[in-house]
Amino acid sequence: MSSLQKAAAPPVLTEPAARRTSGPAYLRYGAGKVGGAAVSLLAVLVTGFFLFRLIPGDPVKTMTGGRPVSAEQLAAYRREFGLDLPVWQQFTDYCGKALTGDLGTSYQFRAPVLDKITEALPNTLLLTGTAFVLYTALGIFLGTRAAWRHGGLGDKLNTGLALTLYSVPSFWLGLLLIIVFSVGIGPIPGLFPTGGMESGGEEGFAYVLDVAHHLILPVITLVAVEYGQTLLVTRSALLDEMGGDYLTTARAKGLRDDLVRRRHAVPNALLPTVTLVFVNLGRTVAGVILVETVFSWPGLGGLFYQALSVPDLPLVQGLFFFFAAAVIVMNTVADLVYPLLDPRVGR
């Protein structure tokens, strides 16, 4: 069952809710999820291959970008990238190599795709990780406030702002921030660097500060376009809980409003939020690609843009596989953590 459906409709209770997740049942559930993820990964691998091979168009022609190239050169390119072999042989080669971590060679950089990915990965993790923590925290915090006083002015402003920022193209917001805060406009001086990750020549603590300085604008952009989703999900999840009898009970026994919210309502509302935060990771990947492109951040997204503009098919294909695999793995992790948070799931 998909995580989305599960979030929408928690399974009906057939056994006493007090029973915790038992060992063997959890193992069976976990094995199912991991197996499903393995099938998904395999599907991504196959899709990646056929998407980039069998669709009309000659990769070598694309590679040379329409420049006049002699027949010998074309043949040499075909040999170099194994494109002269029959498709089925290319496919088995590709699968065998992919399983050992070899994603091919980039046309553009003449370097193994995997090397380019591992080079850029830490930078992306730094940017995405910082933004992810911030926008999830901000979304949950504001979403809880909005739902608790729903219909009020604060709720309307909050939801309105979130919806507006959610509709703003992330790359455009990034460009505007660069104009205003990096290039400087009118009385505002250029406060932040226009792009990249470091100024160069710094060491030790100064280097850390320098990277943090470069990190601020990209992180603000990502947080601004992504927190709205978390806010809306948290808000509607909490609104669903608001009518619950257990909240009336909690109030009736004299708990302060604040405690009712923090101890009783929010933990229950967080359950669907957790799943949806992970299901929506795919959207975050899109945001990361654009933000890194705009801010010339030397991460996977920037690499993807470079690969696209050539187009460097092995690199595009490798990154396609990597992005999809990352999202699938994260979702599986969420699926595995979910029963530990909510004992009703996965028995």
Binding site: S2, L4, Q5, A8, G36, S40, A43, V44, G48, L51, F52, I55, G57, H150, G151, G160, L163, T164, Y166, S167, V168, P169, F171, W172, L173, L175, L176, I178, I179, V183, G184, I185, T194, L232, R235, S236, L239, V279, L281, G282, R283, V285, A286, I289, L290, T293, F304, Y305, L308, S309, P311, L313, V316, Q317, L319, F320, F323, A324, V327, N331
Partner: protein
């Protein structure tokens, strides 16, 4: 049912439909955000439809550009000129046609696929549904934009490619919603009655299930248009759009390539982005209002 009496049930059905449409509008009217969205959309639709009269297709011409490259806003060019000297206001209005058209077509394609898969998966249970829903789940977790980019990269640069790339990557949420609704509809007694009277699969799906999931499908379309417009702008910005037509995303890409960012030419960048955001927001507001009228329990749009 004989032919003489057939007219009267049909009239009855139409009367009922009119009533429910009126009821729908009465409830929709109470959503101020939804009304605002609707008004904004009407304005943009009017601008896009009358563009051939107000700005004319000449506005796209690079060779017969009326002004100097990169002029700042003035009386003659209220939003300045682009890097070829074309009027940015004219391009903005002309670009609305492409952005709205692609958004609409992509959303219709996406929702059509989603509705078809959702209804069939809900109607035919068993192995077919299991396989189909597995595929849906797979698409659901895939990073949509990455998949769309991959498709747009390997196909030729055209508006059709963009529509297809957005349409075939965004249907899974619709499929899930429609399937859930189909399951609910199919458990009602009148489906059993239709089956007992000899209704086949096609009849039940098209005559009984489809009309009941239609409101949901419409709300979903409105919501998907907004993300499709954003996706179109994104693909155009990444240089995957049709280079021969002007769209809002394409204008932003032009601006970036012309160095508008480092030169601080904010008037080149700001209007297309605002246009994208306003239209996307308007569709989202309408979609949420429709959703909350159809499903008051959600209470989202208030």
């Amino acid at each position: 049912m004989t032919t003489e009496t057939a007219a009267s049930p049909r009239a009855l059905a139409w009367q009922r439909r009119r009533h429910s449409a009126a009821r729908f509008w009465k409830q929709y009217r109470t959503h101020r955000a939804g009304l605002f969205g609707l008004a904004t959309l009407a304005l943009f639709a009017l601008l896009a439809l009358t563009a051939p009269l107000t700005v004319g297709s000449d506005v796209q011409s690079v060779t017969r550009a009326p002004g100097q490259p990169l002029e700042s806003p003035s009386g003659e060019f209220p939003l300045g000129t682009d890097r070829f000297g074309r009027s940015l206001l004219g391009l903005l209005i002309w670009g609305a046609r492409v952005s709205l058209l692609v958004g609409l077509l992509a959303a219709v394609l996406s929702v059509a696929i989603g509705a078809f898969i959702g209804i069939t998966a809900g109607h035919f249970r068993g192995r077919y549904a299991t396989v189909i829903m597995r595929i849906t789940d797979w698409f659901l977790v895939m990073p949509t934009l990455v998949l769309a980019i991959a498709l747009a990269t390997v196909m030729s640069r055209s508006l059709g490619t963009i529509v297809l790339a957005i349409g075939v990557t965004t249907w899974p949420t619709t499929a899930r919603l429609v399937r859930a609704q189909t399951l609910a509809v199919e458990s009602r007694p009148y489906i059993e009655r239709a089956k007992a009277l000899g209704g086949g699969h096609g009849h039940i799906m098209s005559r009984h299930v489809l009309p009941n999931v239609m409101p949901l499908v419409l709300a979903q379309t409105t919501l998907i248009i907004s993300s499709a417009i954003l996706a179109e702008a994104t693909l155009a910005f990444l240089g995957l759009g049709d280079p021969t037509v002007v769209s809002w995303g394409g204008l932003l890409q032009d601006a970036r390539e012309a160095g508008a960012v480092s030169a601080g030419d904010w008037w080149y960048l700001v209007p297309p982005g605002i246009a994208i955001a306003v239209v996307a927001l308007a569709f989202t507001l309408c979609g949420r209002a429709v959703e909350s009228v159809l499903n008051p329990r959600l209470g989202v749009a208030r």
